[in-house]
Symmetry: C2
Subunit: 101 residues, 2 copies
């Protein structure tokens, strides 16, 4: 799997709007054939911090995701909500193996 | 959900041993009733870096996990493999909701 963890910090006044926009994007993204998980989690001791845990079958599936209307809408909407530029790291799965996502 | 992301950096010579010990722990942990996911991922551009993505139903389920023999075995085994102390952050789920893990 090709796994991305996106670290996001939003402005405090944007928490609810960011959640709404990101929920819409996650619900559409998880319908994509090449996306196995699209988890959105919020840090318990700092609700301005979120992680997107995106599990793609392949690198190409991530590229395809970037071309969707829902990704474009999300990226356009949340840009001004960020307290700092978001960052992403790429991972490969150790467990589970290719099944189990 | 009560979600933990554990950030780990191991000594380069310990990568394979760490993977083996962590696979054993993950396979046992995912059998616990209170654990819904126990993903282990390895950073693509730095194979000494791992993240454990642990999804518990409740805080109490995390406490129960800490009392298992497989957790004790893992913690005892990997302690000397760490290049720096591991760190953990706690999250709550935004998406999916209570179903979908």
């Amino acid at each position: 799997m090709h796994i991305i963890h996106v670290q996001i910090r939003v402005k405090p006044e944007c928490i609810e709007a960011f959640q709404a926009a990101t929920l819409a994007n996650a619900r559409a993204s998880i319908q994509e054939a090449g996306i196995l998980r699209f988890d959105v989690v919020q840090q318990q001791d700092d609700p301005t911090r979120f992680v997107l845990v995106e599990v793609y079958r392949t690198v190409e599936d991530q590229a395809r995701h970037r071309l969707t209307a829902h990704y474009a809408a999300w990226a356009g909407t949340v840009g001004d909500m960020m307290a700092e530029p978001r960052s992403a790291l790429k991972y490969s799965n150790v467990f589970p193996g290719e099944e189990g996502w």
